[in-house]
Structure formats: structure tokens, C-alpha cells
């Protein structure tokens, strides 16, 4: 993918910066934090905010209505509801803090040690974490209460133990992800002690995820505590929101509105914690939803302009047009509504039965052009100009059904990386049969016979076994053969091969290229071969288009391009790839992905 595309997809939040700065920079995280802070302050300064004693019961005030002497009314014992709300926050929040502190105090050190040193400690700790995680929390907490009595803070500390596996797992995986990094090795080699490596480099990585997880856990603790108090197994001597709900429950037929206030307080507290967590997660991971549509009138960021060898200079004979791309432009929406243009006016012409190489370095727009023809641009990308004619039908303005009918049936696609392009959960056979049944309307048995023939055709020695195998059970070379079989299964007229040999071993590359060549001549397909390897071009292609910065800078027959490259970029590519060697040694040419 081109650099500009990566830029287009990056969000401002991914910029490096302190955790605090990210929080302050994100409106939602900041807002949630302020709301939570207000609740904390209101609980701490409760005596200043209300003159009432939350525990003082007055018979004359039982279930007093709101907006009288008691702003929010009084409960079934004649206690002031507002005062109980404010004071109730204290025990609830303190309980959550205790649970969180215990979870962090257990989870962080064990996670760091398990991830950094691994070995036996890791096995034992991971096992224990799994064990604790599959315990039904509330039942364990109830058992604990039956042992130590309704001492809420001690109970919350035990609940912290139950929460600790979450912290442990997060810390451990964070450490595992960085401990193999080179800079950690560099620090170790230069004599930095393990402890300072851990505190300086490793803790920094897990800090943000821990804050996110912590805010969620605090919310869970608040809800659990309220639940226990609602059940009546809590500490009845201190005021709490859960107790208020219990009282409201007992009077649900008399004064149902009393449910509202404690529920609201719990909801706002936990909600602000959850919002803070999700907003921070989005800011850190950059998962905020990018505007899907480009803003009309937004600025277009186009690649630097370059000199192009005019196509007219190099016109060649035409055997009947199969694919005709004119002035294709592809853009990606940026978060600010502007557009990054990655393909800027590409012309491409492929005749029936012609093998057309599209060459260029990574990021030159060749894969984007291929995806545009298939109508399969990644999310955020779209064709913003030009036309794509396949056998006379304009595709960019066609209905989805028209494109669906062409894809797979008349245009085949061979991807670059074999393993990631097969669905890991279905057998190879199923993946071959499914499109044939749809496009060729074959019966299950007929499709299977055809699939086995195809597997045999692409050089797989035991088609039956491969048919029943899952992707993880075959080698990369075999997987690529299966993908080729799938691409040609419905006898397409055009085959789009996107660097079909790049991910393979050198010996397998040669075999796969041979296979492609023989399939092409046998079926006289048009082929668009996307590659950065001139060796492959020399081996297979009739004509070549050279791409740079989203444009075709030069095109011509293979002989023209190899013998007399006109554009300096083509000359440079040829020199760097072949290094003066003969044109027919490309199959063993060293891969030179830039």
C-alpha cells in the first residue's frame, strides 16, 4: 500500500504523545473524565453540599415528596435522599478504588514477570489466571461474605483478586509484544538493568491499555457492589447507592420514583468510566470512524507531477479490445474530508489473449488500479474519475449486480499472498466449488469433479486429499496453485494476477510462472500481471505499462521497453533489477521489493 494511503487512513489520535495529552485532546474522554471528577468531588464534599445527615431518620418525613424541605424527598425511614446520594458515593467509589488497586497490584507485577522472563512462572500464572477467570464471581464473593461477614471493603479487595487476571493478561501480552523488539535488546546489551528496561520501555507500552481496562473494571466494581448491597448482604451501617435501591425496591408500589436517583447515579458514574475508556481506546488505536464519503469540494492531494512518455508514440496492433481503462483516478477519503489521490489518470489497454505487465515500485498505484478494475478497493477508497470498459461495458457506473456477474466468472483474480487469501475455516474444495456452482450452475457432484480436474491441472499430485484439506494443512506453493485453480475455474476472459509469485520460494516461483504461461496459452485469456519484477515481465508478457506515482509513465511491447526504454524511471528500474544480466535469467533473480 502506498505511503499516502497509510497517511490517509491514519487518524490524528495515533500521533505520538503522552497519555495525559491524549486524554486532554479527546473531547469525549475529557468530558467523561470531568463528569466522573464531579461525582467524586460531590461525594468528598458531601457535608458542604447538604445540611442533612444521611443516617438521620425522621418518622414525620417518611417518603416525603421532593422539592419540599428535602430537595429529592425522603426515603421510607424519613432520611434525606440527596444526602444519601452524596454520602453514598463515598463507600461505592472507595470500594471500587480498593478493588481496582488490588487488581492492579496483583496483575501488573505478575504480568510483567510472566511476560518478561516467561518460563515456569508464566505457565503457572497463566494457568491461575484462567482458573480465576472461569470462576463465577458473584458466588465466590457471596462465599467470601459468609466467611468474613459483610465487611464491604475487604469483600471488594477479594473482588479485586477476581479482576486481576484481566490486568495480568493485558500486561503480559503487552510485554510479550515488545520484549522481542530490537530496542529492548539494545538496552539490555548496553547494560541497562532488567528493572529499568521494564519500567522505562515496557510499562510505557501497557500504560494506555491499562488505563482503559482500569476504567472498565472500576465500573464493574461499582455495579457489583451495588448488587451486593441490593441483595442485602452488604454493610448496612454505611450509606450506599445499592442500599438505596433496595429501599426503593421495598417501596416500589408506593414510591416508584425513588428508583430513579440511585440508578441514575450508578448509571452516570459507570457510564462516564465506560465512555472515558472507549474514547481513550479509540484515540489510542485510531479506531474512530473515518468519514466514509469524501467531502464534496474537499481538497485533492495529488502525487507530484512527473513527465510521461506519450502513449501515442508507442501504439501497437490491436487484436480486439478486452479491457480499456481511460483516465482512471482513485482517491482515498482523509479524516478531514480531503482526498488523497493514489491513481491519477491511468490509461491501460489489454487485448484478448494478451499478457500485459504492469510494473512499478511499491506505492506506484498498480495494485490500486487492479482493485479498481475488480471493483474491490479497500474501505475508504473509490474511483473518482475515468472509465473502465470491460468487453465494451463501462464498469464504474454499472450496477452492483452487473459487476457481481462479471467478477469471478469473466474476470479472475490471483492474489499475492497465498495463505491469507484462503478462508481458514473452510476446506479448499468448498472454496473451489462455491463459485462454480453459482456461476456455472453446476450440481454439487459436477462442481466437485471439475474442481478435482482443476487441481490436477494446476499440478497438485493428490487432488482428492487437497480437496478435503484446510488451508493450514497445505504449503504456500500448494495454496497458490489452489488459488490459481480458483481464479480460472469459471473460464474467465481476463485474469488479474497481483504479484502472484512474490510470496513464494524461488523454485516454486518458476513452477507457478510456467503454470500461468501454459494456462494462458491453453485458454487464451487476457492477463493483467501486476509485478515489480522485470524478470517476470520478460518471461511472460507481450506488453508492459510502467507506473510511477499513480501514473503510467511509459508503455510498449516487451521488446520496445527492454531494448529502448525512453523514460528515465523505466531505465532506472531496468538497471536496478537486471544489473546488466541477460533478460532470460529472471526466474532466479533476487527479489528486490522496495
Amino acid at each position: 500500500m502506498s505511503e499516502s494511503v497509510i497517511q490517509a487512513q491514519a487518524t490524528p489520535g495515533t500521533a505520538r504523545g503522552g497519555l495525559l495529552r491524549r486524554v486532554l485532546g479527546d473531547k469525549m474522554a475529557l468530558g467523561a473524565l470531568i463528569v466522573f471528577g464531579l461525582i467524586v468531588l460531590a461525594s468528598i464534599f458531601a457535608p458542604l453540599l447538604t445540611p442533612w445527615d444521611p443516617a438521620r431518620a425522621e418518622l414525620s418525613e417518611v417518603l416525603a415528596p421532593p422539592f419540599g424541605e428535602h430537595i429529592l424527598g425522603a426515603d421510607s425511614s424519613g432520611r434525606d435522599v440527596l444526602a444519601r446520594l452524596l454520602y453514598g458515593g463515598r463507600s461505592t467509589l472507595l470500594g471500587a478504588v480498593i478493588a481496582l488497586a488490588v487488581a492492579l497490584a496483583i496483575g501488573i507485577p505478575t504480568g510483567l514477570i510472566a511476560g518478561y522472563y516467561q518460563k515456569w512462572f508464566d505457565s503457572i500464572a497463566s494457568w491461575a489466571a484462567n482458573l480465576i477467570m472461569s470462576m463465577p464471581g458473584l458466588i465466590v464473593v457471596l462465599a467470601v461474605i459468609s466467611i468474613i461477614g459483610p465487611r464491604m471493603y475487604a469483600v471488594m479487595a477479594v473482588f479485586g483478586v477476581l479482576l486481576s487476571p484481566g490486568v495480568f493478561r493485558l500486561t503480559r501480552s503487552g510485554v510479550l509484544s515488545v520484549r522481542k523488539e530490537l530496542y529492548i535488546d539494545a538496552a539490555k546489551v548496553s547494560g541497562v538493568s532488567d528493572l529499568s528496561v521494564i519500567t522505562r520501555h515496557v510499562l510505557g507500552v501497557v500504560k494506555a491499555p491499562l488505563v482503559i481496562q482500569g476504567s472498565m473494571m472500576a465500573g464493574i466494581a461499582v455495579v457489583l457492589q451495588a448488587g451486593l448491597e441490593f441483595l442485602g448482604v452488604g454493610d448496612s451501617s454505611t450509606t450506599s447507592w445499592g442500599q438505596m435501591l433496595n429501599d426503593a425496591f421495598l417501596n416500589i408500589y408506593v414510591a416508584p420514583t425513588m428508583l430513579i436517583w440511585p440508578g441514575l447515579m450508578i448509571g452516570i458514574t459507570v457510564g462516564s468510566l465506560a465512555l472515558f475508556g472507549t474514547a481513550l481506546r479509540d484515540a489510542v488505536q485510531g479506531t474512530q470512524s473515518v468519514p466514509k464519503r469524501r467531502r464534496a469540494g474537499g481538497v485533492e492531494h495529488v502525487p507530484a507531477s512527473i513527465e510521461v512518455v506519450e502513449p501515442a508514440l508507442r501504439d501497437v496492433d490491436r487484436r480486439g479490445t478486452l479491457l480499456d481503462v481511460r483516465g482512471l483516478r482513485v482517491g482515498y477519503a482523509r479524516p478531514d474530508g480531503d482526498t488523497t489521490v493514489v491513481v491519477d489518470g491511468v490509461d491501460l489497454h489489454i487485448d484478448r489473449g494478451e499478457v500485459h505487465g504492469v510494473v512499478g515500485e511499491s506505492g506506484s498505484g498498480k495494485s490500486q488500479t487492479a482493485f479498481s478494475i475488480l471493483g474491490l478497493l479497500p474501505a475508504g477508497g473509490q474511483v473518482i474519475g475515468g472509465e473502465i470498459r470491460f468487453d465494451g461495458v463501462e464498469l464504474t457506473s454499472s450496477a452492483a449486480t452487473v459487476r457481481d456477474a462479471i467478477r469471478g466468472q469473466r474476470i479472475g483474480y490471483i492474489p499475492q499472498e497465498p495463505m491469507s487469501n484462503l478462508d481458514p475455516t473452510f476446506t479448499l474444495g468448498f472454496q473451489l466449488v462455491e463459485p462454480m456452482r453459482r456461476h456455472l450452475r453446476l450440481s454439487k457432484a459436477a462442481a466437485k469433479t471439475r474442481a478435482l480436474d482443476l487441481l490436477d491441472r494446476v499440478g497438485i499430485t493428490d487432488p482428492k486429499r487437497t480437496f478435503d484439506a484446510y488451508p493450514h494443512e497445505v504449503s504456500g506453493g500448494m495454496a497458490q496453485r489452489v488459488l490459481i485453480a480458483g481464479a480460472v475455474s469459471c473460464d474467465p476472459e481476463l485474469l488479474i494476477a497481483d504479484e502472484p509469485t512474490t510470496a513464494l520460494d524461488v523454485t516454486v516461483q518458476a513452477e507457478v510462472l510456467d503454470l500461468l504461461r501454459s494456462l494462458q496459452s491453453e485458454r487464451s485469456m487476457g492477463v493483467m500481471l501486476v509485478t515489480h519484477n522485470f524478470g517476470v515481465v520478460a518471461d511472460l508478457c507481450d506488453r508492459v505499462s510502467v507506473m510511477q506515482h499513480g501514473r503510467v509513465v511509459e508503455h510498449g511491447t516487451v521488446t520496445q521497453i527492454f531494448d529502448a526504454p525512453l523514460h528515465p524511471y523505466t531505465q532506472m528500474l531496468l538497471e536496478s533489477t537486471l544489473e546488466g544480466g541477460p533478460a532470460r535469467t529472471p526466474l532466479t533473480a533476487k527479489e528486490s521489493r522496495s
Partner: protein, 313 residues
């Protein structure tokens, strides 16, 4: 796959054993005199000693533990210290109620969360924003509070649904279902919210995979792409979330049962907790953990069936 399941089964047995042992030891070592608690303050020393001997509390700890354990493996958890009812009998009476609620709740969660999550991931737009907001709300509102509000609205004010009580499914299936509507609704709001969020994330992740593009390039039907390929790949993380939700639902049901006065294990658990009824609590803990182990095994089986790679590891 079989060796994997056997290993999980073994680790489940160890889990049950470990939790039971720890609970037993902690409860036995916690001090106080259970016999005195049972008989009340008025009892004489002789009466207390006699009660302790009757319950076997005068035996050394390891012997008490051995007695309990050897009974437990045969399904005999002893009798409640306070009601003298065999623990197994009371559990057998109460558990079907709790299990009804939790099972229906997990099924409803699985279906609705899948539909919501996938729709949000595919359509984006307003439904995506709804799922995001719903996730926060569902997380923030305690399910028993939701239950109280639902009771107030639908049972007390509108009188549409029963506020309390439970009808066994064998007696009257439609009454059984009607009685479950509110408790299940209260329970699933939270679980649907968080599960839908997870399904959404997993689906978005799968949709960006290379093989999805290749499948689309083969021109397979959109419904097959989504409901066969994407769903099956997204199912593994979703099932993991569901197994965690199940553990949470067991706890949630205990609290919910109080609101709807359902005769499940909730009241049993609360009574045993406040009284310190050791055999009752031990029985509850063991049965709960066994249930969790079984559900996790089922989830492992389902994961293995859906994801061939998981069968190997």
C-alpha cells in the same frame, strides 16, 4: 481435538477441585462457632458441644475435609446446617429456575448480538453509532436496576406481564415463557450490548482480511460471504465472549431473582451467605463451577467445529 478436549476437561476437574478445597478451607478456618450460630445465644455449652459433634465439627480439619470430599464426588454434599434439607435436594429444586433464565438469556444474547454486531459492521452509519452508544449504556446500567424499572413499567403500571413468580415449563409452557420475559429482558440488555460490540469488532476485522477480497473477486453471493465465511470466522472470538457472559449471567440471575421473587438459587445463596451455612455454600459453589466448566467445554467443542485450526492446537 480429542486430546485437546481431554486436557480442557482435566483442567476443569482441577478447577472444581481447587475452588472447592479453597472454599472449604477458608470457611472452616474462619473461626467463630457455627454450632453456636445455629443454636442461638440461649443455648448451653453442652448443647453447643453436642451440636458440633453432630455436625462433625469436633473432628480434625483434614478428616472433615475428607468426609466432605468423599461424599461430594458421589453427589452427596451433606445437609444444610439450618434446614437439615440435603443440599442436593434444595439445589435440584432451585437450579432449574435459574438455569431457565440463564439459558434463555444466553440464547437471546447470541442471536440478537450477532445480528446487531454484523449489521453495524457492514452497514456502518446510524446502526453502528447505535451499537456503540448502546454498548456504553448497557455497561453502565446495573441489570437489577433495569429489572426494577421494567417491573415498575410493565408489571405495576401497565399490568402486561407478571411481576413475580415462576411457572415450570412442564406445567404451562406459555406461562413459563411469559414469566421469563422481564427477567430475561433485564439480564440481556447488558450482555447484548457488550457482545454486539465484540461481534462488530470481530466482523470489521474479518471483513478487512485478504481472503474476503479474494472471495468477493470470485463473485460469490453476498449472503454467503457474510453468513457463511465472515460469520464463521468471527464466531471464535464471539464464542469466547459468550462463555464469559455466561459466567456473568449466573451472578446476574441471582440478583435478578430477588426482584422477580423467582424461586431460583438466588434466595438460597443469600440465605446461606448470611447464615454461614457451609454445606449449602460449598454445594452451590461446586455446582456453579461444574456448570461453568461444562459450558466452557461446549464452547470449546463449538469453536473446534467452526474453526479447524483450533482443532489442532
Amino acid at each position: 481435538m480429542i486430546s485437546f478436549l481431554l486436557r480442557r476437561l482435566a483442567s476443569g476437574v482441577v478447577l472444581v477441585f481447587a475452588v472447592a478445597t479453597i472454599t472449604f478451607l477458608l470457611m472452616s478456618l474462619s473461626g467463630g462457632s457455627p454450632a453456636r450460630n445455629i443454636l442461638g445465644e440461649g443455648a448451653t455449652e453442652q448443647q453447643v458441644a453436642a451440636k458440633a459433634a453432630e455436625l462433625g465439627l469436633d473432628l480434625p480439619l483434614w478428616e472433615r475435609y475428607w468426609n466432605w470430599l468423599s461424599g461430594a464426588v458421589t453427589g452427596d454434599f451433606g445437609s444444610s446446617w439450618f434446614t437439615n434439607e440435603p443440599v442436593m435436594t434444595s439445589l435440584a429444586n432451585k437450579f432449574p429456575v435459574t438455569l431457565s433464565i440463564v439459558t434463555v438469556a444466553i440464547l437471546v444474547t447470541a442471536i440478537l448480538a450477532t445480528v446487531l454486531g454484523i449489521t453495524a459492521a457492514v452497514k456502518r452509519g446510524w446502526i453502528d453509532r447505535f451499537v456503540q452508544v448502546f454498548a456504553v449504556i448497557g455497561f453502565a446500567l446495573p441489570n437489577f436496576w433495569v429489572a426494577l424499572v421494567l417491573v415498575t413499567i410493565f408489571a405495576v403500571n401497565l399490568r402486561l406481564l407478571p411481576a413475580t413468580g415462576f411457572t415450570p415449563i412442564a406445567t404451562d409452557p406459555s406461562k413459563w415463557a411469559l414469566g421469563l420475559v422481564l427477567p430475561v429482558a433485564a439480564l440481556v440488555i447488558g450482555t447484548i450490548a457488550s457482545t454486539a460490540q465484540q461481534v462488530r469488532g470481530a466482523t470489521i476485522d474479518i471483513l478487512e482480511r485478504d481472503f474476503v477480497r479474494t472471495l468477493r473477486a470470485r463473485g460469490i453471493a453476498k449472503s454467503s460471504l457474510l453468513f457463511r465465511h465472515v460469520l464463521r470466522n468471527a464466531a471464535t472470538p464471539a464464542l469466547t465472549v459468550l462463555s464469559l457472559q455466561f459466567v456473568g449471567l449466573l451472578g446476574g440471575a441471582i440478583i435478578i431473582e430477588k426482584v422477580f421473587a423467582l424461586p431460583g438459587i438466588g434466595s438460597l445463596a443469600v440465605a446461606a451467605t448470611t447464615q454461614g451455612d457451609l454445606p449449602q455454600i460449598l454445594g452451590l459453589v461446586v455446582v456453579m463451577v461444574v456448570l461453568v466448566v461444562i459450558v466452557n467445554l461446549l464452547i470449546d467443542l463449538a469453536t473446534g467445529w467452526l474453526n479447524p485450526k483450533a482443532r489442532v492446537s
